[in-house]
């Protein structure tokens, strides 16, 4: 551990910092959709991972469409795929809200069971449609390289891409929530559902749009993850625990909290990973999170709501 030179140590620092930032972006992308739904509606969406995988499969299909019909535009297919992923996952979200979730608002814990069932159904649909084996999503060449900043420091282009995407989506969601009329309604419903209904806000409609938006963001996250992870019927399960960890640690109703918690977890994990093995780093990170949650049971950021 101490057999590195000073120059090596400083480049370790930079590269680990960068690895931490990529992990941070991944966490934010994963958790954002869940946090919107959980924070604003109190619905625990256990099918979040499957909505991500839906986005990944849409990306896979889009890449094949481009190869088949628009090979000259292939390098740009990814941007189209992300839009498709948002639309498809969002539309399914709207449908699910209408068919299932809206009947369960009075029983928040039941949403956990219902969405868990939904996740199993979606997994089986993926398996029947795309087969049990994992599918590979081919990426345009320009996404696979890395930029060399110095002899020892290199940053990965798809890492930068994920980071840029995270910033864009986070800003868009925050703007929507805090600057738009719809966002105002969402926040009003969160604060006091009955009162909002009384002053003429269509809470049903707000709920549906929120759920759709959360699922749509999950779809985009899934599209982005095809760059770094695997796409199989059950891959969504890989992400769900980390995602809940981030949301709960951040304070369930605060998007800022989600971002802060993603940052804390990713940086500590990345730093620890360098000195101990990956498995141990994960264990230690979990212990740190549990310790902090004992001190702050509501998570890092608490939204002050009159109940």
């Amino acid at each position: 551990m101490f057999d590195y030179s000073f120059a090596e140590l400083s480049s370790i620092l930079v590269m680990q910092g960068f690895a931490g930032l990529i992990l941070f972006s991944v966490f934010v992308l994963m958790a954002l959709g869940l946090a919107i739904i959980f924070g604003q509606m109190g619905v625990i969406n256990m099918a979040h991972g499957e909505f991500m995988i839906l986005g990944a499969y849409v990306t896979y299909l889009t890449s094949h469409l481009f190869l088949e019909f628009l090979p000259f535009a292939y390098p740009a297919y990814f941007f189209v795929a992300m839009v498709f992923a948002f639309v498809v996952a969002g539309a399914l979200g709207l449908l699910v809200e209408w068919a299932m979730i809206r009947h369960l608002y009075a029983r928040p814990l039941d949403t956990l069971l219902a969405t868990w069932g939904l996740s199993l159904i979606l997994q089986q649909i993926f398996r029947s449609t795309f087969g049990a084996r994992e599918v590979g999503v081919e990426l345009p060449d320009w996404m696979m390289g890395s930029l060399a900043l110095s002899d020892t420091i290199e940053v990965q282009i798809n890492g930068l891409f994920v980071m840029g995407l995270t910033v864009a989506i986070t800003v868009a969601v925050l703007t929507l929530l805090f600057k738009s009329r719809w966002g105002l309604q969402v926040r009003a419903v969160t604060t006091n559902r009955t009162m909002s209904g009384a002053v003429g806000i269509d809470t049903r409609r707000v709920d549906r749009m929120t759920f759709g938006l959360g699922c749509g963001v999950a779809g985009v996250a899934g599209a982005a993850f095809t760059m770094i992870g695997s796409t199989g019927p059950t891959s969504g399960q890989l992400y769900i625990v980390d995602t809940f960890l981030v949301v709960v640690f951040g304070g369930a109703q605060s998007l800022i909290g989600t971002v802060a918690s993603a940052f804390t977890i990713s940086q500590s994990q990345s730093a620890l990973e360098f000195f101990i093995s990956g498995s141990m780093a994960k264990v230690l990170t979990l212990l740190i999170v549990i310790g902090l949650l004992m001190l702050r049971p509501q998570g890092l950021f608490v939204l002050k709501v009159r109940r």
Binding site: Y4, E8, I12, M15, Q16, F18, A19, I22, L23, V26, R127, A132, R133, E134, V135, G136, V137, E138, M143, M144, G145, S146, A148, T152, E154, Q156, I157, N158, G159, F225, M227, I228, G229, S230, T231, G232, P233, T234, S235, Q237, L238, Y239, Q269, S270, E273, F274, S277, G278, S279, A281, K282
Partner: protein, 422 residues
């Protein structure tokens, strides 16, 4: 319980007797035509232990996960076993009897595996079972097979340190895969330093333990890093940074399942050139995994296995052709799939040598059984119930297939309890 058992026994034997009587009644007619219908034996002659064997049929079990996380891997094994059974039936069956199979789903859940194994042995009286993939599932069913005296053909390459009269291991144990592969990379690539990576459970840890012992104690070379990641881990940037700093001659990777996709994509994005600069040797990436990883992300990596779909021999050509005819032309065949295909054939040969379906006789007759038509070439069962087989090294092509770059001259002796490696 005892009463139940006897009832079952009666239920089982009385149809046999009836068929036997029918057969005897037909004898004069047959004699009149001057020959037996086939060179068959009556069921109670070849089977004294109450297995599900009639004069025309023998029942076996297939026990794999077709749901849950392991379905991805085990699908190929199920397909191979069904293909072998179909081919054996087309060629006249086993001791003149058609094979009938009962398939059960282990659902990627080890207690379920044990329960289904018990069902196959106790209720269905299966004459043999082809199944399991993970070591965890095998460990779960092992006591069941030993208690109820069943026969399991287990297809996966695994960590060794096990041997049972009730199991035939048709995959490689650790030394057949690891040691030959490491020797090859040291000789061919002049490797001096190694970085060991793996998923965090028993098989990669045990395999890496053997690899480290071999590298340090026998080859007198150096391991510069060793790391494990939880199953399903998708963030490998930190370890890739470490590998960059340590500059090992060989990255030795035993990461399993979906994590592989993340690992190789990130490795490529980080600028590692497996084709020209960095040597990477794996024992956990078959053609199946490459489908998910994408050939362009792993092209140039080396894998140490005993079988690749691209093996150039007559047996394999026939096997690949038949496999694709049965399961679709786009399908790929990995190492374990081929090992699963060996199971029914080895069992058939053993039963015919023993002249009986009885488990004890089959177990006793197993050592020395040969299978010359194996897609991997030629295999033989060792006294320790593992297979003598060749070790091969393949190199990933862009289309997701392997070029075979090396194979051992002789069959490698299986040794599940290697001295000096524990």
């Amino acid at each position: 319980m005892a009463a139940d058992d006897t009832n079952e026994q009666k239920g089982l034997t009385s149809p046999l007797r009836r068929q036997l009587l029918k057969g005897m009644a037909a004898l004069p007619a047959v004699a009149a035509f001057g020959g037996a219908p086939r060179a068959g034996f009556a069921a109670d002659g070849v089977n004294t232990t109450g297995l599900a064997v009639t004069d025309t049929e023998v029942t076996v079990g297939i026990l794999h996960s077709v749901t849950g996380t392991m379905a991805i891997s085990e699908t190929g094994s199920v397909q191979a076993e069904k293909l072998a059974i179909e081919q054996i039936n087309a060629a006249g069956g086993v001791l003149g009897r058609k094979i009938k199979y009962i398939q059960e789903d282990g659902a990627s859940d080890w207690p379920t595996f044990a329960e289904k194994a018990k069902k196959l042995l106790v209720n269905d009286k299966c004459a043999s079972v082809f199944g399991c993939w993970t070591s965890a599932s095998r460990k779960a069913v092992l006591p069941v097979f030993e208690q109820y005296n069943g026969m399991l053909y287990y297809p996966t390459f695994y960590e060794g340190l096990e041997q049972s009269k009730n199991v035939i291991y048709t995959g490689q144990e650790a030394t057949q895969q690891i040691i030959a592969g490491l020797d090859w990379v040291v000789k061919e690539k002049g490797a001096k330093t190694f970085y060991l990576l793996g998923s965090d459970y028993i098989w990669p840890r045990t395999s890496n333990k053997i690899a480290r012992k071999h590298i340090e104690n026998f080859q007198k070379l150096e391991v510069v890093g060793e790391e494990y990641f939880p199953l399903g881990h998708t963030q490998f940037n930190s370890v890739i940074n470490k590998i960059k700093l340590k500059k090992p001659d060989v990255i030795y990777a035993i990461i399993v399942g979906g994590s592989n996709v993340a690992f190789y994509k990130q490795l490529k994005a980080a600028g590692f050139d497996l084709e020209n600069k960095q040597t990477l040797l794996t024992i956990s990436v078959t053609e199946d995994e490459i489908l998910g990883i994408g050939g362009e992300n792993i092209v140039g990596a080396y894998a140490c296995m005993k079988y690749f779909q691209s093996l150039d021999n007559e047996n394999n050509k026939k096997f690949v052709e038949a496999f694709k005819a049965m399961w679709g032309k786009d399908i790929v065949i990995g190492d374990v799939t081929q090992a699963a295909y060996l199971g029914p054939w080895l069992w058939k040969a053993t039963v015919e040598k023993a002249g009986s379906f009885d488990i004890d006789k089959v177990a006793a007759a197993s050592p020395g059984i040969e299978f010359k038509e194996a897609p991997e070439g030629y295999v033989r069962i060792h006294e320790n119930h593992h297979l003598w087989s060749k070790t091969r090294v393949g190199r990933v092509r862009k289309d997701g297939q392997y070029d075979v770059v090396y194979e051992t001259a002789d069959l490698v002796e299986p040794n599940p309890f290697p001295a000096g490696y524990q």
